[in-house]
Subunit: 328 residues, 2 copies
């Protein structure tokens, strides 16, 4: 019997989950839940119902794992504990500073209901976090570096779009190659924000807008741009659509460290991702952890988990024997 | 109380363990066991006894985890199950084809004794295996690549040293940069053995030896060299000592895969290591898993485990709360 997945929220992430299920023969899509009018939501999988969010409770015994595809700002802090009272759940909660609070809320709800809740699954937090943990455990005497990009930052793109005179915009975060190389060379540099990443904006102006003023406003925007070297390109709406409609992302997690009686030997651990589609990759990670949630629940476990708490074998459809034979 | 570590076998790996313990304040070295005459073995840590291997049983209650630093060919298949009858054990067994058999033997012994045995810990098998598993679970529709090097292959260096007329030698395995780039570019190449790695030998000849004959013998040696493009350099004993006395290694694990309803998006996951000292890095991984072995045993678990079976949090000295706060 396959693992029955529910998707709550059908945006880019929800659609990515739907695609990922297709690649995993031990899973099936049970239902999609939306806050929109279900009759207006067209999904890709034939024969699968689209339901209203408030119907979810009726699916309690028909869904093994519910994947929550809402936003971290306002949706997940409420939804994940709420759904954990009915289902095994997974989310990609990514407000790093609020993870301890979110963990506590989901843990309480999941323990009460006897369900599993896995939070903050994706690539950062997620695979990048795992790599930070492994590398730190292996090389206690060392230094961590995380670089993001090249990729589209939704938050920064939104910030540019809010500027008066901007019709549309896309922002790319780009790691500084020289900084990456210095880390790879074992130089253990202390890097400022400006030395690690640059930002590049592609902006479509409203008719009659003042380009110089918009550019100035972008470059001096506190928190978002003022600490970075930012390049602004003004392009047409057609060019934006043609050249910048993808959602690529990626990045690098590095740790350089020393071993030996007197720290005489250096080592570098590097993990990197180059992703055509940020939401589809995140979805693929979520689906692998959905398998883990299902298995943990089958074992009778309950409560909140993160990627740190889950043995890698739980993610794979293969048996332990098969894994030892083929991948060890 | 700190975790009391025993080291069985005091070669490069055993010495690496000793150095790694120094970097981990929650651990202490209890004793070193050797097949040599203990009075001839000088260790780095003051006040720690060097004992004969056959005294190990006396240490049953004074060691929390015994780390087995013998060879995979003949030592570990016997030692790991044997020691698992007395201690929680860890080894770096790396004969990939014999892992299932070794697992079964260690599992039976450990279950009978109520101990934990973690096998095949290091970087390959070990961290590379983990990365293969994670990447396969996330991108089921994809292709795996592992490249080794640049680094010293002990087995190949030994093979060259056995040739008549060779006084000493060091062999480096080198990944072919063009092949790596093709993988990184998402070309999903089918690579032959020759296309993936080259081999480079630094050879010191015996006086009067025939260089051309030695070179020919190296390059045509079946299994070891005949399937590779090999370069042979003849150097002096001083040069070998000066320039090639290190034991560096490393490598790359990559997986490229597709997502999307019609596989329209490509992704690349890459993990790489650049190691000054192969044995010291391996030791550092072993020590992190020794912490896990201790904790699993404290929980009352027993039997054989691999890196696949162990949740990442077990490797870190930090608490779950601390990890979520600082690394997630």
């Amino acid at each position: 019997m396959s693992i029955r997945i529910g998707i709550s929220g059908y945006g880019n992430l929800g659609k990515g989950i739907e695609c990922a299920i297709k690649q995993n023969p031990d899973m099936e899509l049970a239902a999609v839940f939306t806050r929109r009018d279900p009759s207006t939501v067209q999904i890709l999988t034939e024969g699968v119902p689209v339901c209203r969010t408030d119907e979810a409770a009726d699916w309690k015994d028909k869904i093994d794992v519910m994947i929550l595809c809402g936003g971290s700002a306002t949706d997940l802090p409420v939804q994940t504990p709420e759904y954990a009272r009915m289902f095994n759940v997974i989310d990609s909660f990514d407000t790093h500073a609020k993870i301890p609070e979110h963990y506590a809320n989901v843990d309480a709800a999941a323990k009460e209901a006897g369900t599993i809740g896995i939070i903050s699954v994706g690539w950062d937090p997620g695979m990048f976090s795992l790599n930070r943990l492994y590398a730190n455990a292996i090389l206690p005497d060392g230094k961590d570096y995380t670089f993001w990009g090249k990729g589209v930052s939704q938050g920064h793109s939104d910030a540019v779009r809010r500027i008066e005179g901007v019709k549309d915009a896309k922002q790319y975060t780009i790691p500084v190659e020289a900084a990456l190389e210095a880390v790879r060379n074992g130089e253990n540099p202390d890097l400022t924000t400006r030395q690690k990443h640059t930002r590049e904006c592609f902006v479509v102006l409203e008719e009659g807008a003042d380009a110089a003023k918009v550019e100035e406003e972008i470059k001096t925007m506190p928190n978002y741009f003022s600490d970075y070297d930012t390049t602004v390109h003004f392009i047409s709406e057609e060019e934006l659509k043609r050249d910048h409609s993808g959602i690529p992302h990626g990045g690098f997690v590095l740790r350089s460290g020393k071993t030996g009686w007197n720290g005489e030997n250096s080592h570098l651990i590097e993990y990197s991702l180059k992703l055509d589609s940020n939401p589809e990759f995140t979805s693929s990670v979520l689906i692998a952890y959905a398998r883990a949630a299902y298995r943990l629940s089958q074992e009778g476990q309950c409560g909140c988990r993160t990627v740190f708490d889950i043995a890698p074998a739980y993610l794979s459809a293969k048996s332990g024997e098969e894994l030892r034979k083929t991948m060890l």
